[in-house]
């Protein structure tokens, strides 16, 4: 299922080999002669390499960026790292004119994705689940944007929104002096313009998730509802939707992740200029470049990390509790 690939973190990818190895080592103890030296090296490598990679690429970098958030560093030589305590954070919260708009936009991003494309995706899924004619064609059409990379979507929508030569302004004649609509530049418009593009893609994503959820609804439930004389809306409201609970959790988590990692679309669109600032873009702008502010950028990254943890930890606790009960 699609959710597996998207929610899979590097941790999850690294788990299978170490998870499988205890059983093998136990086997090694009881059948000592069966495992040669070569086998043990192979096992050590199979468990060790992913562990090292995981620790180096996930944990070391995460901890390094937390450490760097309390320093200033231009990235030239380790000697120039200077401890500044909470300076980066006070600057960020008080002096950076882009920080609070960025936080706000990340929140708006989430709210819009959960309010517009998610219900719409559910609606499409319910319609397609009825096995209407050409249902596969529709399914493909709605899912197609999900297959395209965000960067490409950004390029395509930029052409549509271009204030001088774009599709919209050319059709409605809003590219003349006097009555001019600047979809990309106007800070009151551009975030919404981008969110339309993001929703266009997210709808297909949500549709596929819900379609998978609906396939697992027991047909006998529908039959029972039909026998009781429930109409279509009643069936959906009282029978189908409650059974979609696990799917809803997945949808919620996926949408939160999408809102926090929103980056590529905006970066291609206008690099997070006035009106479209996002936390991920502020991190990039500060860290990448010829004389980078690595400490400051790390501080923003730490804020993003804290927000992510605040969302992920309650979810994990809830999931583990459920598993233990089961």
């Amino acid at each position: 299922m699609t959710t597996d690939t998207t929610t899979q973190t590097p941790e999850a990818a690294a788990v299978p080999p170490p998870g499988a190895s205890p059983a093998r080592t136990r086997a090694a103890h009881s059948h000592r002669r069966l495992l040669t030296r070569r086998d043990r090296i192979t096992l050590a490598l199979m468990a060790g390499v992913p562990t090292i990679l995981h620790v180096a690429l996930v944990w070391v970098t995460a901890i390094a960026s937390i450490f760097l958030a309390f320093t200033t560093w231009d990235g030239i030589g380790f000697g120039s790292i200077k401890w500044v305590g909470l300076d980066n954070f006070t600057q960020l919260f008080n002096d950076n004119p882009q920080f609070w708009p960025a936080v706000e936009h990340n929140v708006i991003w989430f709210v819009v994705l959960i309010l517009i494309p998610t219900p719409f995706g559910l609606f499409l899924a319910v319609q397609l689940d009825k096995r209407i004619r050409f249902s596969r064609v529709y399914q493909t059409a709605f899912f197609l944007p999900v297959v395209i990379s965000m960067a490409c979507i950004g390029f395509v929508w930029q052409l549509v929104y271009n204030p001088d030569t774009g599709l919209i302004n050319s059709i409605i004649g809003a590219n003349k002096p006097g009555h001019y609509i600047d979809w990309i530049g106007d800070p009151h418009l551009n975030l919404w313009a981008i969110l339309i593009a993001a929703s266009w893609r997210h709808t297909g994503y949500m549709m596929i998730l819900y379609l998978a959820g609906l396939k697992s609804v027991d047909p006998s439930l529908r039959e029972a509802a039909a026998l009781d004389g429930a109409n279509e809306w009643q069936t959906f409201k009282s029978v189908i939707f409650p059974t979609l609970r696990p799917t809803n959790t997945v949808v919620l988590v996926v949408t939160i992740i999408e809102a926090l990692r929103a980056f590529d679309l905006v970066f291609v669109f206008n690099k997070g200029a006035q009106g479209t600032e996002l936390l991920s873009i502020l991190v990039t702008n500060n860290i990448i470049g010829e004389s980078s502010r690595i400490g400051y950028g790390s501080a923003i990254a730490v804020v993003l990390l804290v927000i992510s943890l605040a969302v992920i930890i309650p979810y994990l606790i809830a999931t583990f509790r459920k598993e233990r009960r089961a």
Binding site: T42, L45, A56, D74, Y161, N162, D182, A273
Partner: protein, 437 residues
């Protein structure tokens, strides 16, 4: 599943390569960030007949032009230039780690503060020995641009181009416009153009840097070259009344700029000049690249930004200059000196300009016989300038200009009334960035 007792299913060679992989991973974990900086380095050749060169000339025209230059150098000296070309923007983003790793002997870079920054960080080698030979080839303003803060030379300029106000001769003729020499004349001209149904100034600031050009012009016309340098180096205050005056002048001109500039690239803005819908365009001479029709290109002309303060007149020209620097420990120092002496010669510049006519030579000794009228004018303007500036993001810390000034100027363009709070915000951020030195 149990492994086969023999273990023969694991062939030797692949296991060895696996081990090597594991060793590499361990190294990566231990070495952390420095290893990343080793990326993009070239092979270690201490061959006296080769000089390695890191190039940002990734576009087709400059790449071809430089190839011809290096081929000519080889013919003269017998030294091969081993070029390692990287995408222009990628080169800039990675320059930091590139110079700390194993950089090529010589690399493409920009004059001014951005050169001085790496010189001060000891990531470049001084080239005073080269300048003893090539010094006579350059005007004083170019010499000033090539020196580090310690007074040593670190840079050899090759090409440059001016920023000015571009217009179409036929449009000015048709309406009987005159080239404005003063600020008042410029504003009056804008008013007249608007009346005539033209957009007085074509403008696009989607990429956030074009606005910096307008700021620079008004600033050094109003406050002079020295103040520009002070301000860019973080020494003058952004809350100074002089800076406020720049924004006041700009705000006066803003209503005459093209609508919707925040969503428009400079290329699209240039099209309004090409199609004669706009009267003027303040930009670098690369705007000529957008004039693909020969007749249109011949119609293109420019004038220096008008005088605002008679104390400074029009003595400063914004002329971003590109050239070469030497990395901190070149493997073939003798070859590097020979190469730079050659690159700093009028002959090398003429050779380059044969293929790439969108810029002009940095040397005032280069022959102008092959120049177009536009190039000749640009060359004279730069040659006669008392001071040359490089453009805001080349005259100041790039982290300051990209994270503070670009969004700051865009904010001003959206809301030209709230200048005071904007300037104090810029000043606060500037202090922390320049303090991190």
């Amino acid at each position: 599943m149990r492994l086969s007792p023999s273990g023969a299913s694991v062939p030797g060679p692949s296991r060895r390569s696996l081990l090597r992989g594991a060793g590499g991973a361990a190294l990566l974990a231990g070495a952390g960030i420095p290893l990343l900086s080793a990326c993009g380095g070239s092979g270690s050749s201490s061959d006296p007949k080769t000089v390695t060169l890191g190039s940002n000339a990734s576009d087709a025209v400059p790449k071809k032009a430089f190839a011809a230059v290096y081929a000519d150098f080889k013919k003269q000296s017998g030294i091969t230039v081993d070029v390692n070309t990287k995408d222009h923007n990628t080169f800039q983003e990675q320059i930091n780690s590139y110079l700390q790793g194993t950089p090529d002997d010589v690399f493409n870079w920009f004059a001014g503060y951005r050169m001085q920054f790496f010189a001060a960080k000891k990531l470049a080698t001084p080239v005073d020995d080269v300048w003893q030979k090539i010094g006579d080839n350059f005007p004083d303003a170019m010499k000033k641009l090539s020196k580090g803060e310690d007074g040593k030379y670190y840079f050899v300029p090759v090409t440059t181009y001016p920023w000015a106000v571009f217009y179409r001769k036929s449009v000015f003729q048709q309406h009987g416009y005159k080239i404005p020499a003063t600020w008042d004349a410029l504003v009056a001209l804008c008013k007249q153009m608007k009346k005539d149904g033209l957009v007085p100034f074509a403008f696009g600031d989607k990429d956030a840097w074009p606005a910096m050009g307008t700021f620079d012009q008004i600033n050094f016309r109003l406050n002079g070259y020295d103040f520009h340098v002070q301000l860019m180096a973080g020494k003058a205050s952004w809350t100074d009344a002089k800076v406020k005056a720049v924004f006041d002048h700009w705000a006066e001109l803003l209503p005459y700029h093209q609508d919707g500039f925040m969503g428009r690239t400079w290329e699209d803005a240039a099209q309004t000049l090409v199609s004669k819908k706009a009267g003027m365009y303040l930009l670098g001479s690369f705007v000529a690249q957008q004039f693909t029709n020969k007749a249109d290109l011949d119609d293109l002309d420019f004038f220096p930004f008008p005088e605002i303060n008679s104390a400074y007149g029009q003595e400063t020209v914004e002329a971003p200059t590109d050239g070469f620097m030497v990395s901190k420990a070149p493997k073939n120092h003798a070859g590097v000196v020979k190469l730079l002496e050659y690159l700093g010669s009028p002959a090398a510049e003429e050779m380059y300009l044969k293929t790439d006519p969108s810029v002009v030579a940095a040397s005032d000794k280069a022959s102008t016989s092959a120049y177009s009228a536009l190039q000749k004018k640009a060359f004279e303007m730069i040659g006669s300038a008392k001071s040359l500036t490089q453009f805001m993001d080349r005259d100041s810390r790039p982290d300051f200009t990209s994270t503070v000034m670009q969004p700051g100027l865009q904010k001003f363009l959206q809301n030209p009334k709230d200048v005071d709070s904007l300037l104090s915000s810029i000043e606060r951020q500037k202090k922390t960035i320049f303090a991190s030195e």
